[in-house]
Amino acid sequence: MKRFKGLSLLLSVLLVLSLGTLAFSQEKGVIEIFSWWTAGGEAEGLQALFDIYNRLYPDVEIINATVAGGAGAHAKAVLKTRMLGGDPPDTFQVHAGKELIDTWVKTGFMEPLTDLFESEGWVEVMPKGILDIVSYEGDYWSVPVNIHKANVLWYNKQIFADNGLNPPQTFDEFFEIADKLQEQGIIPFVLGTKDGWEAAHVFETVLIAKLGAEGYSGLWTGETKWSDPGVTEALETFKKMVTYVNPDHAAFTWDEAYEYIIDGKGAMSIMGDWVAGYFFSKEYTDFGWVPVPETAGIFDALSDSFGLPKGCKNRDNVINFLKVLGSKEGQEAFNLKKGSIPARTDINKDLFDDYQKSVMEDWEKDVIVPSVMHGAAAAEGWVTEFKDVIALFVARPDIEVTQKALVQVAERAGVAQ
């Protein structure tokens, strides 16, 4: 016991020393940080970042500007009016990839952060896959704080054990399991579609399953045509999946729908791994996970990042905040709560939950594809129309009409078919 005390004393001295090297700063004033992190794990993650920032810069007041709403739909609306109106927040959450580059970088709203990436050594500790989607014309434009995997099938372990089931590897198995569960009066496939993007998220993972990594990525560059038979097959599969969902899916946002799984009334669901953070915050541990059927070895990735808008009022404070975001300590603290994995690869993996450890392994060995519903793969206009087509498909599952609409949407987005 005594020795333990001595050890902890030593550790705390080390901690203080390490903080000393970061130097307590004299920065003053405010920093306004804009995000859509208001629910469970994500809000806690954000708070963890604020705590670190407050400790390092105690005289800077943080204004936590959040706008609630799934996948940031409402936050993005507020952000756009502010940016266009010349009143940018000091820094804001943005999905790395097309959403960052097409909406804000190409249009000249951001400052490059290449110097910061080099001086902080992020270029060495972040993998190429993630650096690529925050760069444009040789510069880096935002600091990724996490990586999420979008193609995860979550299931209630208890239900699977009670019914002697194994999680599905293929869609044939998926439907077999779903039939069995339905007979038991359990909702086979849990879905919440109130915010309008959730169905398209599921469909995105089915597209990956049916087209493979290359075929799916090609959809967004024009190498794969939307008239491809793989797309037809994906629509057929998705149509069948929808017949197994909870009939009240329109009443719920994704997190509200997940109560079915926590309560043991629903068995499986497809969503990104912010679900892990949600389960942590609900203190629910009896969940299992596998890749979405037929997507093993593929990592459908998205990343939240923060950038530096031109004309922000507290530039120095933002640079300091971005340093915290990119630091080992910041990435660990944030992702422990959020359920995602750090963008840096040199973090202490032992701190993390089993789920996150498994994602870190996937991240290193899987083929990475960009998520479309979360801003990485396509420009926002295309994403909006894509999600509308799929939302309509849920109610009117006409495969031919839908595939035609998908082709048209791609053409409008400037990708020849």
Partner: protein, 297 residues
Amino acid sequence: MKKTKEEKILTFLFILPSVILIAVFVYGFIGWTGWISLTNWKDVVPDFTFVGFRNYIDLFHNLRFQIGLKNILVFTVLFLVVSIAIGLFLAILLDRKVRFENVFRSIYLFPMAISFIVTGVVWRWMLNPGTATTGSLGINMLLDKIGLGFLKSGWYTDPNVGIKAVVIPAVWQMSGYVMAMYLAGIRGIPQELSEAAQVDGASNWQVYRYIILPLLQPITLGAVIILTHISLKIFDLVVAMTGAGIGFSCDVPALFMYDTTFRGNFFAQGAAIATILLIFVAILIIPYLRHGLREGS
């Protein structure tokens, strides 16, 4: 009364600030929106290339917009008819000199004081039908309990009901307001008229049918105008309660406008929807204003 020259100048000076403010912030921006709807602006950076009516033509070919238009029509008709019927009914009941009239009047009127967002969230929960595993929830549970289980519905989660379910909270919120309008109207009708009719042997029904209702016509017109313009612009209630719904069964043009503008960056298309909504409201309001102005002078 004839005004002197100084008085005229003074009057003009007094209203000048508001005229300027309204000219800029109302009509200026309406004009600006109209202009944007004719451009090619579909990114966060404005693109003012003139494209004529292309955005409008595209819109009317857009399935989501077609569904939204149909929905707003259904919503408006139901909302109008039911609100006015309930409002009138409540006003007549209260006019029968009930006890605690003040209390009832306040109770009926209170929902109007609540924001549509609050109403939407609460009714989203109340009209959540529940599933086989949860059993009935909210209103459905109530219907079960009082033996009216056959009235149960999927409400807004059923694409065949969709927007009609949103009519329920809208009516709940606004019918009290209609009642207040009618009650004021009824109270404004001279007692002698109905008394004279009664002396002539008219029944209660006849008094209402032939005396009071015809005299309430201007009130009805006012209520129609107010409710319709609320209805055509409805947005907050739908956002809070249902979102666009399954297959856009709860979608309205205003929600589409928000989505396409701020999520999709199709600013020109959003402006076109705004302009169309404005035209709809104007078709309704302008005759009313002209009518009102003529009577005023």
